[in-house]
């Protein structure tokens, strides 16, 4: 009798152990698909966490010189983010362009992107800056000849000291305004060229 009860107890224990193991296996199997579906629901989350810039700085001022040591331009930005070895994004940039040591033109905008590249022809690195959103190009002569150009995009070639845009550009100055589509300006010689669709006016003339 005692032997029988011992066998029953042993049987019950092993049953309980087996049931317990089955429950654990079942729970384990249930967890696996949950984890998989969690991963699948957010496939891009991991990518978003990838750091997409090399460095970031605030309140930066940089000065660029030519091979003779003359200032070409000085640039300020409230925020500067180095996206790669050759590309820098800037927030609220302000650039002062120099000619023979004198500030001649200023460009401001909401944002800008500076890109360095190697010029095989010039055998040196060149830096172009693409300004965008509320771009203002101002002549700093302080004379009545001074002009102000507004546009939405403007590319500055630091070597040639030229600016260009394919978008509409408006020029305003003392008694004069002129609007056209497309602009190319030589900032050293103060020559402005417009590509098409010109219209303008001159006020208070003597004719």
């Amino acid at each position: 009798m005692i032997q029988i009860s011992k066998k029953i107890t042993k049987y019950v224990k092993s049953e309980i152990l087996i049931i317990g193991m089955l429950i654990m296996i079942a729970l384990g199997l249930k967890q696996i698909p949950t984890q998989k579906s969690y991963n699948n629901k957010n496939p891009g989350e991991h990518q978003n966490r990838v750091i997409s810039f090399q460095s970031q700085a605030e309140g930066i001022q940089s000065t660029f010189y030519d091979s003779s040591g003359n200032i070409i331009y000085r640039i300020n930005a409230t925020k500067q983010t180095q996206l790669s070895n050759s590309k820098i994004a800037m927030t609220l940039p302000k650039i002062m362009i120099y000619n023979c040591g004198i500030q001649t033109w200023r460009i401001t905008s909401q944002k800008a992107s500076l890109e360095k590249s190697e010029s095989l022809l010039a055998n040196k690195s060149i830096a172009g800056i693409q300004f965008s959103s509320g771009v203002i190009l101002e002549e700093l002569s302080g004379m009545t000849t001074a002009l102000t150009v507004t546009t939405e995009e403007l590319y500055f070639d630091s070597i040639q000291k030229t600016v260009s845009t394919k978008l509409e550009a408006s020029v305003a100055g003392y008694q004069i305004n002129h609007t056209a589509k497309g602009l190319f300006a030589d900032l050293e010689n103060n020559n402005l060229e417009f590509l098409s669709k010109n219209r303008g006016a001159h006020a208070n003339s003597s004719f």
Binding site: M143, T145, F194, N198, A201, H202, S205, S206, F207
Partner: protein, 178 residues
Amino acid sequence: MQTQAFSLVALSFYLFQISWTSTHLYAAEISINDKVIWSANGKSSMKIIGDSRIIEMEDNVEISQGTMKVKGDFAVIEYLVSTGELQKILVEGQPVHYQQRIGLSNDLASGTSASLSIDKETGDTSTNAISLITLVGNATLQSPSANMQCAAIIYAAELDLIREAEGPCKGELESSKE
């Protein structure tokens, strides 16, 4: 032919003298404060040479000031940067078309030429400055007082007066103004 042209030029000078004395009858509104407005489909440029700002434009150019309107293929506008004073307008075309209302009347002056320039002629005061319209190359001019075709015509629009004409010319001039 040359004699005929010479006599026409002489006649125009004579008419100038007559009309000069009666300019008060044709006192024109000298549009000192009127804006010069321009438009062009093609390229244009803006540069400074000396004390002048020079604006050049091409392709379907239209320039207007007050009642004056000029159309052509290429134009140069020049003004003094120190004062903002407009100095010269030059338009070239095949041909250039010119049109202007004369004085306070509804009379029109119109003309065509290979090139047209508008220059300011300073008077005793800035208010009596007049603009001289110079039409050069197959120049034609129709105005209340003249209907002429010459190699070149210089016209004082505010006075409705042909100041000078270069032959060979043909056409007619009114001998007096009512």
